[in-house]
């Protein structure tokens, strides 16, 4: 066995908690819809939809066009379990449903003559179910990557089918809506609806959404078709939606289709890419109805952009472990028989779940054990309750799946039942493993975050989650509790200057999908950061020294570092996470001291002979800047890529401030020196061969070698103070990772900073310019690291990931200094 294999095997045997850490694989993205609205995932804000419930379904401006389709709308089959009545469409002229009702034949458009005007196909939906009356919208959304066309909807006022902006270069042959009852197409949307695919020769992919006017319920379907395959997917109130990521497919958070049911988001299509060749695919999911015995079926279909069916995954694969998270239990009714002592008696009590069928929703059996009361019906899910000290009833409702419970929490005071709307616990153990102190504090072991400690506020139905210790996963979990599934939290104090002492809580304010987030406090924006492929987060420091982090903020256009905000200020111009995580400890800015002068040299070992102070050179970066700009230019010319440094310099030049571009170049060079092995490239560099071995101040067990540079520390320090504000200079000089002062000399660690390999284009935006302050923002457009094509294609603009960085220059004592520049993204 080689030494490397020994290491690999030894790493494999590390303790259990490390195994768990190592195998906390990425979850598929979970997107929940609320109020029938949709989440835009990336990119710029999409055009406002015509109706609030019908947001554009493709992201990044890359929306759908119809590839050509014919849809026949059939309809409901009976309640509860009847198979859908699907009659394959037989072109060309008329369709007879199995009920024997012959419908009118709508006009048939010829290939390449897809009409832009409205169709006069009549579909009225005057009766939308037995509990809802009124007309219904029926909108069918199809999509591909490149435009926002291809929306068909039924205009409720007229009952006409509306075709919006469909492509004309695609064949739209025989759009047909078939209804069962009347030749006019009047439909009665009872409890079920069947969307039929009547096209026979063209592929189609999309989602169909039916939403009643002022209704309380909706019906959805997602459909898919290729030349040789037809599929329909229907959603009913009790249908589940699960997703599973086949491992060959890399999952991307580009949603192109949505299916909603009421407030639940139960279907969607995603973009995906193959790992091996990066080929884009579209991927559609469907749900399956809840069945007895906790049976979740899963199915997905993958197609490439031309909609050819590529793979059809086994519909009977195991449900994904997190599938229960899609199940939002809602208790519809509750009845408790309360004794005179204020304690609930359960002999005649029952709970009915809103999202369950009748058979499993009514709980008539229970047991009382260890202060918990378990309700059980068919054994497929669990509800337990606990009487609190004040007589209130705390209820946990959970659905086990793959060993994981997702638990909703309710409180019942004898009169009103309320749910903590944003609180979902994740357990691998039984519900009884949740410990409540009888008042308002829950403790349990979370399968992601470990020990969790949550305090409930019964008045506001919000909660705080305390952490035993600082724990990245736990913080991510908190974000999840608060309504986001993205982990774009500033978790690394080293990289974000975020200070927290392990006590944090999430403000239970799930306002995502609302389109905006608002500052909850007066304060100053400390950090605006964009994580490529994910989302933006914002840190706001309030006047009391508390740092508020807004995670999962999407793409925010109007926020920048240093921006002053007031409580209630709208700080987003795009869809937003609205997740406010307040780190409940005063933020103590890092104490900036003169690092090298007071640098503790305890434990330093010196090998070799250092220079005398008289032999040291002054730091000079001028020749280095010249060479670096030359390299950048040469590389740009060879590769065809844009030149980030020169671009920025040109932009700064355009601001008309003499010397500012040179300052930028100098500051860039200095910051780059600190983190790279570029010092040996400086003309002033010379090496005596001496090596200083020093324990890292933050990691005393790690001894790292620093090499002689022959450069005077004093000149090194002064160079930073000349280019940066004192705060930023000292912040950089405090970075013990890269250098130290020994005697009067600078010693460096040789490390190499990762290259910026995914950038294809940059744009600049001036945020503020006064006589003594300049703030601008740079937007970098990126492709995946490793992509072969790094040239910018304007037509693909909306598909690029974007990185936003902010630069700030201020004038101090008459001289411009760099006050802020982002690490890595100069």
């Amino acid at each position: 066995m080689t030494a490397e294999e020994k290491l690999i095997r030894a790493i494999g045997d590390v303790k259990d908690s490390y195994v768990r850490l190592a195998t906390a694989y990425e979850r598929p993205s979970i997107i929940k819809a609320q109020g029938g609205e949709f989440r835009e995932v990336t990119g710029e804000r999409l055009p406002e939809p015509e109706h609030p419930w019908l947001r554009p379904v493709l992201t990044g401006g890359a929306l759908a066009a119809v590839l050509a389709l014919v849809v026949a709308l059939g309809f409901m089959w009976g309640l509860n379990g009847k198979e859908p009545d699907i009659t394959p469409y037989e072109p060309p002229v008329s369709v007879t449903e199995t009920t024997g009702v012959t419908t009118d034949t709508p006009p048939v458009t010829e290939p390449d003559q897809f009409p832009q005007e409205l169709h006069d196909y009549v579909i009225r939906s005057e009766n939308f179910g037995d509990s809802i009356s009124g007309e219904a919208y029926l909108r069918i959304v199809f999509g591909d990557y490149y435009d926002n066309n291809g929306v068909i909807s039924v205009v409720p006022e007229t009952g006409r089918v509306e075709v919006v902006g469909a492509k004309t270069d695609k064949v739209w042959s025989t759009a047909r809506f078939v209804t069962r009852d009347t030749p006019t197409g009047e439909i009665t949307l009872d409890r079920d609806i069947v969307i039929k695919i009547a096209d026979y020769d063209l592929p189609m992919l999309g989602a169909i959404i039916c939403v009643p006017i002022e209704g309380e319920d909706s019906y959805c379907t997602t459909i898919y078709q290729t030349d040789d395959y037809r599929e329909y997917i229907d959603y009913e109130p009790n249908w589940f939606y699960t997703i599973k990521s086949p491992d060959e497919i890399r999952f991307e958070e580009d949603v192109f289709g949505f299916v909603v049911h009421g407030n639940e988001h139960i279907g969607m299509g995603f973009r995906a890419r193959k790992y091996d060749d990066n080929t884009p695919y579209e991927w559609l999911y469907r749900g399956e109805p809840y069945k007895e015995g906790m049976h979740l079926r899963f199915d997905s279909f993958i197609s490439n952009p031309d909609r050819k069916l590529l793979e059809h995954y086994d519909p009977d694969v195991e449900p994904f472990a997190f599938a229960p998270e899609y199940v939002c239990w809602e208790i519809e009714e509750i009845y408790y028989d309360r004794t005179s002592e204020g304690v609930f008696a359960f002999d005649n009590s029952w709970i009915r779940l809103k999202n369950s069928d009748e058979a499993s929703a009514a709980f008539s059996e229970f047991r009382t054990e260890n202060d918990y009361n378990r309700f059980s019906a068919d054994g497929s899910f669990n509800i337990i309750s606990q009487v609190l000290d004040d007589g209130k009833l705390l209820i946990y409702a959970g659905l086990p799946g793959n060993g994981v419970f997702t638990v909703s929490v309710f409180v019942y005071d004898g009169e009103t039942l309320r749910q903590f709307p944003d609180l979902f616990l994740h357990l691998t153990d039984t519900l009884e493993s949740i410990e409540c102190d009888g008042v308002n504090r829950l403790k349990y072991y979370d399968y992601l975050a470990g020990d969790c400690d949550i305090m409930l506020d019964f008045n506001t139905l919000t909660y705080r989650a305390w952490l035993e210790n600082e724990n990245e996963t736990a913080l991510a979990l908190l974000a999840e509790y608060a309504g986001t599934d993205d982990y774009a939290l500033p978790l690394d104090p080293e990289s974000t200057n975020l200070i927290y002492n392990g006590e944090a809580f999430v403000q239970g304010n799930r306002s995502y999908y609302t389109g905006d987030i608002y500052s909850v406090t007066d304060g100053t924006v400390q950090t605006v950061d964009w994580i490529p492929g994910q989302n933006m987060y914002i840190d706001i420091l309030d006047g009391n020294g508390n740092l508020w982090t807004y995670a999962n903020c999407g793409s925010i256009a109007n926020v920048y570092e240093g921006m002053e905000v007031k409580a209630g200020d709208k700080i987003s111009s795009n869809w937003a996470g609205g997740v406010q995580i307040r780190f409940n400890s005063p933020v103590e800015p890092p104490e900036l001291t003169e690092p090298a002068v007071d640098y503790d040299m305890t434990g330093v070992e010196l090998e070799g002979t250092p220079f005398d102070s008289g032999e040291l050179n002054e730091l000079s970066v001028d020749s280095y800047i010249e060479r670096f700009i030359g390299w950048e230019t040469e590389w740009s010319e060879k590769s065809g890529q844009e030149n980030r440094i020169v671009n920025t310099g040109l932009f700064i030049d355009s601001l008309g401030v003499p010397g500012l571009k040179e300052l930028y170049y100098r500051a860039f060079a200095l910051d780059y020196i600190l983190a790279t092995d570029n010092i040996p490239d400086l003309d002033c560099y010379k090496n005596s061969g001496a090596v200083v071995k020093k324990p890292h101040p933050l990691e005393p067990d790690y001894i790292r070698p620093f090499a002689s540079t022959g450069i005077s520390y004093e000149s090194f320090r002064n160079a930073y103070l000349e280019s940066f504000t004192e705060d930023m200079a000292l912040s950089l000089l405090n970075n013990f990772d890269f250098f130290l002062k020994y005697g009067d000399e600078v010693y460096i660690v040789e490390v190499t900073r990762g290259g910026d390999l995914g950038r294809v284009h940059e744009e600049y935006e001036l945020v503020k310019q006064t006589d003594d302050e300049i703030v601008f923002r740079k937007t970098q457009f990126r492709v995946e690291v490793g992509a072969s094509d790094l040239t910018y294609h304007p037509e693909l603009r909306d598909t690029y990931e974007r990185t936003y960085t902010t630069f700030k220059f201020v004038k101090e004592d008459g001289a411009w200094k760099v006050a802020y520049a982002p690490e890595y993204y100069w």
Binding site: E699, V751, T752
Partner: protein, 186 residues
Amino acid sequence: MDDKKIIELYFARSETAVTETDRKYGDKCRRTAYNILRNMQDSEECANDTYMKLWSVIPPQEPNPLYAFIMRIVRNIALDRVKRYSAMKRGGEVYDAAYDELAECVPSKENVNETVESAELTGKIEKFLGTLPREKRRMFLMRYWSFMTVPEIARRLGVGESKVKVTLMRTREKLKAYLEKEGIEL
């Protein structure tokens, strides 16, 4: 089903034990194997081999926690398989890359004075990992325990790929220095 009941099924020699194991941990098994092998069919086979191994060792063993026990088994089975494939020049690119990276951690000969057993080496590595900040520890484990790619790690942790690369590089440097300091020969 909780782990205790699954183990009881193994002890009872009930084939349901395998079904329940797959139901609860099948995804993780396949994913762990896939990270190493990058092939779905092989990953499925590894998962099945894992269940056979469990069947043969339980009883008498009664692992607790079962999860980590299973993960180690599937990892080792996948490693055995990828080793064969590497010899056949078939697949295993991610593994090979991680293998090459770990070569940087192998202590120099002049700095070592003892050859350690695997368990002792594991102990040293655990101790080393314990000195790391959580995020760095996690990156290291994701890369060298789970063989996730750098982009996968970056995405999972919500950081840039550059940061992952730099952090891993520094961690490897530290591990090498640490092992040398401990005087370990591999």
